[in-house]
Symmetry: C2
Subunit: 344 residues, 2 copies
């Protein structure tokens, strides 16, 4: 089914570097027998890493040398001007030239977005790209966007997010009419600022292939009442990072609590299978990192501090997004919003 | 020390009603032997509830009849016009008249804020009140504001929040120079929108009795790197509610995981002390609800669905805020910000 699918990989991005990427590749190659991979980065380092499992990679993985890499703390504007010989730049270029269908990097988010916009351009009809992430809920999963690409958002941009999120949920979750909610400070119509109220009005009048659920509140996101939760990038970024911090806080408290007595230590050992299952459910690595929506090409950002498991999930997600035809859905759905509604 | 302190209580607010309030009163009376209480609400109901423990309440608790109550879903504007005979209105009036130093209600947040602003007015120099809450961190506690009173915030309003939060941390945590951070999408100076950048500039130039830590990100809040985390009310409300939802999600997953096998069930029983300790650490009831800062009077909102433990904590918090002199600190500190900095 995925006969000709090729994934382009920035092998030098992230804190862990190429060794993690090659370990992830071993997993991905087994899971996706028909997919090919292009690794961009330091030729010598990559060939050394690949040499250990030569037979597995033969005919499936090719290496392209890149003379430099984008550092995690490079400013996007600097990277865009001065790092056109980097693994990140070349990895995106492979999608632009058509030799790959998607690109995955654990590198600098801002540089990935800037180079992605510069090289691939933005989908016709979408004003700006957004970063989506997928969270667990009581009933399954939810697409949350924007997670930080757009600090200030007007009504039309929130509508763009709704369309991109709904197309992603359709492609990756297989839902024909995803339920979409606008995150607000209350569910009543008069609540919130002009941007959310305007977006709600446009979405209510549209004939998009989604079930628009109106306003939802923060607590509704993980309840699983919607498949897509839309908010501005400032709020989304703060919420996402606060959740990361809270997950760490809970692990910190749990560790302290379980160490308190002999009985609780014993209990923790007996329940370790259950606690491990919980940790897996909440593991951010299982949720594919940040998905950059709205570019003319599939771009997935793995978490900067990811390991091989997390990077392999990011590869899975990119492949699913290609197979699900996310971008074609976005183009078609954006064209389906009544122009007069958008203009209002 | 708290010789003449009197707490005014809206006994009819919240989902649980007067029975919960009277149970909380039993706890509070024991913890604060020198404090007096005025209960506003349905005289017949309240006297019946108090009759059971008459000797305990004698000389410490008085009842004031109120003919109506504000419903949880009443619009603030409606409550302000049509519910001036309610327990909520009269409870605030006791602070205005000077017979009580603080007011606590588990009722309608919007109505409490609207009636509080109308009756008590806003502290001189503060442009608008805010709602603060106190969260657990890896090192102690953190004041977070605004949690939803102000949907749109400019630089000066964020500065007001910083001052109010710092005064609260000084009064309630006993810190001489609380560490204050502005929540943003990155820690670099050029990040974020105009409001956060402007607020950072004003706070950097000010001589306030706080250690201004610049920008922090969402994950820093629960790490305990600051004592006060400042953000606009839209973001704060969504973050707070998302955290509530996530706490529920984790409880849901943990319950499911621990039920999976005989061993994990046994382990959960043995570790139950530790799991209970964790639940207490994360218990929102222990964090005193929403603290309305910036009004000429101490106003505390207990969680609408609270029980006696939570309401008793809200009473504790209100008493601590009075004893700590929060409002005098706010007045003094607001006056200390260079006027030219505020105007810029």
């Amino acid at each position: 089914m995925a006969g000709e699918l090729t994934v382009s990989i920035d092998a030098m991005g992230g804190d862990a570097g190429p060794a993690v990427v090659v370990s992830a590749l071993v997993r991905s190659i087994q899971r996706h027998p028909a997919v090919k991979y292009i690794l961009h980065g330091d030729e010598t380092v990559l060939n050394q890493l690949l040499a250990k499992r030569k037979s597995k990679f033969a005919g499936r993985v090719s290496v392209r040398h890149a003379a430099s890499r984008v550092a995690m703390d490079d400013k996007p504007s600097f990277a865009l001007r001065r790092r056109r010989d980097s693994s990140l730049w070349h990895a995106i270029e492979s999608v632009k030239s058509g030799e790959a269908e998607c690109v995955v990097s654990a590198g600098n988010t801002g540089a990935l977005m800037a180079m992605g916009m510069f090289q691939l351009g933005v989908i016709n009809g979408i004003s700006r790209p957004a970063i989506a992430s997928v969270w667990p809920t009581q009933r399954g999963q939810v697409v949350v966007l924007d997670c930080g690409a757009n600090i200030e958002c007007d009504a039309e941009l929130l509508v763009d997010f709704a369309i991109m999120g709904e197309a992603l949920a359709r492609a990756v979750f297989g839902l024909p009419r995803p339920r979409v909610g606008l995150v607000n400070v209350g569910s009543e119509e008069m609540k919130g600022h002009d941007a959310v109220k305007g977006a709600a009005q446009i979405l209510r009048q549209s004939n998009l292939p989604m079930e628009f659920c109106g306003f939802i509140e923060g607590n509704n996101i993980t309840e699983g009442v919607v498949d897509v939760a839309v908010m501005d990038g400032f709020t989304g970024n703060v919420v996402l990072k606060t959740l990361e911090g809270t997950a760490k806080l809970i692990a910190f408290f749990l560790k302290g609590s379980l160490k308190r007595s002999f009985l609780s230590r014993l209990g923790a050992i007996l329940a370790s299978g259950a606690l491990l299952a919980l940790r897996r459910k909440l593991d951010p690595r299982a949720y594919g990192g940040g998905l950059m929506l709205g570019l003319n090409g599939i771009v997935v950002k793995a978490h900067g501090g990811t390991d091989a498991i997390g990077f392999a999930y990011a590869l899975d997600t990119a492949i699913e997004m290609v197979l699900g035809g996310v971008n074609n859905s976005i183009v078609a759905d954006r064209a389906g919003v009544k122009p007069e509604a958008v203009a209002s």
